[in-house]
């Protein structure tokens, strides 16, 4: 089977974070970890090309995946194998997205990452197999990926034994008893000495290491971003007031202030009366411009990125975060002020 292998800019040997903005491209043959993968795949399969995209570009331009899949088809590829991405979030998201895009286009798609990689949620049901946490586990991870790829090529379903990982869904159903009756029963169970009984297994949350302090804020390019449902008056992009699935960007060029009539808040979690009377209360553009003029900050970024933080799913919020971070890094932003509501 003809296979295209996807790697990020780092594993393609283009460069590190400084090259994370590299656009999508296809190169003939196997590259980097793809060479080892090719030998593990055996003679029946061939890596005809390597698809590459910088992590920042992939995170902020989801269409990279469809572009690379289209190019892979020109090479007559029947399968796209992505990764391993280990625990790298943007890379994992890119691997999951390109594997999902391959499936969507009727090719086989397969990605490899660590089970805690936040990109796992983007796989949309396409197969993902487990990798180690860090690149030191490359060899084992490639062996598992190659075995899985051979199985997928043979038209077989992957199982947990193949290292298949994926989200377990919590699906609604009706219980026999009411929640009140179940709570009383759970009290009795717990008082009886059972320390584990529960209906909701507790989730693991990411812990985020804060970025290093900005060395010199008077030289820094600073962005304003918000989850306050901040939109152009009339909400032309139809940003949701709750459970947002997207974010929007608006130019702040030439604006000294976020004026009523030009901007408003569509947030559904609080009364927007005072936000709409003076949208600077949600996005402090007036003060930020003042600080820019006075030299307190270097320069204000010319765009605001905005969404609504109200009952937003963690998966969507995580995706917004990764997309924003990638977008801001590509513009060389040193600091972002996120106004929360």
């Amino acid at each position: 089977m003809k296979i295209v292998h996807y790697v990020n800019q780092f594993f393609a040997g283009i460069g590190g974070e400084d090259s994370a903005g590299t656009g999508p491209q296809l190169r003939d043959g196997a590259l980097g970890p793809g060479r080892k993968l090719a030998s593990l795949l055996g003679d029946e399969h061939e890596i005809v090309a390597t698809a590459i995209c910088g992590d920042d570009h992939a995170a902020s331009h989801p269409e990279f995946a469809a572009e690379l899949v289209a190019q892979a088809r020109e090479h007559n590829a029947e399968m796209i194998v992505a990764g391993p991405a280990f625990t790298s979030g943007r890379y994992g998201m890119a691997c999951a997205r390109i594997a999902a895009a391959a499936s969507e286009a009727g090719l086989h798609g397969l990605a490899s990452m660590h089970p805690e990689n936040p990109g796992l949620g983007e796989a949309a049901g396409t197969s993902v197999v487990e990798s180690g946490a860090i690149s030191r586990h490359m060899k084992d991870s490639l062996e598992r990926l190659a075995a899985a790829a051979r199985k997928v090529a043979a038209g077989e379903e992957l199982t947990a034994q193949d290292g298949r990982i994926g989200p377990v869904a919590r699906i609604n159903r009706l219980a026999q008893d009411s929640a009140a009756e179940r709570a009383v029963a759970l009290v009795l169970t717990r008082l009886g000495g059972d320390r584990d009984a529960t209906e909701i297994p507790l989730p693991d949350f990411d812990s985020v290491t804060p970025a290093a302090p900005v060395a010199d804020i008077t030289e820094a390019l600073v962005a304003l971003v918000t989850e306050g449902g901040f939109v152009l008056a009339g909400n032309p992009d139809r940003l949701e007031s709750a459970r947002a699935t997207k974010w929007v960007r608006y130019s702040l060029d030439g604006l000294d202030s976020a004026d009523s009539g030009e901007f408003e808040s569509v947030h559904g979690g609080f009364s927007t009366q005072w936000a709409n009377a003076d949208p600077n209360r949600i996005l402090p553009l007036d003060i930020a411009r003042e600080m820019e003029r006075e030299g307190v900050i270097g320069r204000l970024h010319g765009e605001v990125l905005a969404t609504t933080g109200n009952g937003t799913t963690v998966a969507d919020a995580r995706r917004f975060g990764m997309e924003w971070a990638a977008d801001l890094r590509q513009q060389n932003i040193q600091a972002a002020i996120l106004t929360a509501t």
């Binding site: 699906i171 609604n172 929640a179 709570a183 009290v187 507790l202 009952g311």
Partner: protein
């Protein structure tokens, strides 16, 4: 214990509801005197009110449901029910209270900050809502031109409690279907584990507040009241966010966790603790620690905590569960899950760190299809979808009124399933 402590609940079942010339109750049939009720609801903030009926099984959708109340009365003019709103602001929950079981009055229409709540009286969503199982008198209105939304809200709240008392007053002399004696919580040890109920009340300002004796708990500390006070309407909801997670007055009056504890022979219902849900973290921590201390002073062996509202209210439950466990009190929380449309996200916004005993009222984000209906009350259009209210609509469970109320009426929960490949 005080000689007069305890409440006698005089139950009149409602099996049919209709509009008519004068309000009366006989043999399970509640007739609503349309003219007198409209008179009762008259308020400068309301230009017009309209009444509609919805019975279980009807092909009716109620859109924009706000508060719902079970009719109750202790005598003429209410006799002290809904203290602080209708009756004088004094503790209630003693003597006799007549209730119309199986009936509710519901306000339905537009208010700011009110997230659109849907009740389907038939079809797949009906099994999820306690107010799909009641004979409902639905109040619609047109606000007066110069009225503020706050005045409209207050007019509706005052009107609804008056209406609830008025309807139950019709049954004061009727032979009851049942008489239920509700004891005061025991202050002694009789060998059974003592279990408390922690009732978090949302306190987020206008249109997102809950009233105790007619006032908000905002800024206050937890307080202990008799569970029997809820039957008399000591807690009235003015909170219109998060439809599925709403705890309307009706669910306070019929509090399912209190009912389940009263029905349990092996446990003693020992206390009801009301708590505000502050909007900032430091206050959440203070209220939680204080509530746990109260529970310790009450010699509780276990407590069940509930919430109202979305993500940030998870913290109010989780912090309390953790503090209770630290006090050596077995803590059980009832929470809804927010696991994303496909159910694969982390289910809780703020999980506990020490406590682990949780009951789930289902995933808020999962969608369901509600078939078209013949008739709609409340609002003509489902604003969330910009569709006529009578259409087939696809909505998240989050929009189904009380479907996930952590007061525990519903049977919705989550089970783990492999994601469909």
């Amino acid at each position: 214990m005080h000689a007069e402590a305890g409440l006698t609940r005089v139950v009149h079942e409602v099996r049919a509801l209709e509009l008519g010339e004068r309000t009366s109750y006989a043999a399970g049939r509640l007739t609503v005197g349309e003219a007198s009720v409209k008179d009762l609801l008259r308020d400068p903030a309301l230009a017009e009110v309209r009444l509609g009926c919805a019975a279980p099984g009807d092909s009716v959708r109620i859109v924009g449901a706000l508060d719902a109340i079970q009719p109750c009365s202790k005598g003429a003019g209410g006799g002290g029910v809904f203290p602080g709103l209708l009756g004088p602001a004094m503790p209630a929950g003693r003597g006799e209270t007549h209730i119309l079981r199986g009936a509710a009055v519901i306000a339905a229409g537009y208010l700011p900050r009110a997230q659109e709540a849907v009740i389907d009286m038939s079809g797949p969503a009906a099994a999820l809502s306690p107010l799909a199982a009641t004979h409902n008198l639905v109040v619609e209105w047109t606000p007066a031109e110069d009225a503020s939304w706050e005045d409209v809200d207050q007019a509706l709240r005052r009107g609804l409690v008056k209406l609830a008392a008025h309807l139950a007053e019709a049954a004061l002399d009727a032979a009851p279907d049942a008489v239920e004696e509700l004891a005061e919580p025991a202050d002694t040890c009789n060998g059974k584990p003592r279990v408390g109920v922690i009732l978090n009340l949302q306190t987020q300002g206008k249109f997102k507040d809950v009233f105790v004796y007619g006032r908000s708990l905002s800024g206050g500390l937890p307080t202990v009241i008799s569970p029997n006070e809820l039957d008399d309407g000591a807690v009235v909801s003015g909170q219109y966010g998060h439809p599925a997670l709403k705890n309307p007055t009706y669910l306070h009056q019929t509090h399912p966790v209190l009912a389940a504890l009263r029905a349990c022979d092996e446990l003693e219902l020992a206390a009801l603790v009301l708590c505000p849900e502050p909007v900032n973290q430091a206050d959440k921590e203070l209220v939680s620690a204080h509530a746990a201390r109260l529970c310790a002073q009450l010699n509780l062996d276990a407590a069940i905590a509930t919430k109202e509202g979305g993500g940030n209210a998870d913290a109010d439950v989780s912090l309390k569960l953790d503090r209770l466990e630290e006090e050596g009190i077995t803590a059980v929380g009832i929470l809804a899950e927010m696991a994303g449309r496909d159910g694969t996200g982390p289910p809780l916004v703020v999980p506990p760190t020490k406590a682990t005993a949780l009951v789930s009222t289902g995933n808020y984000d999962e969608r369901m299809t509600l078939p078209a209906v013949e008739r709609a009350l409340g609002r003509d259009r489902v604003a969330l979808l910009d569709q006529p209210s009578t259409d087939e609509v696809e909505l998240p469970v989050a929009a189904i009124y009380c479907a996930q109320s952590t007061l525990g009426w519903g049977r919705l929960t989550c089970a783990e399933a492999e994601v469909a490949r």
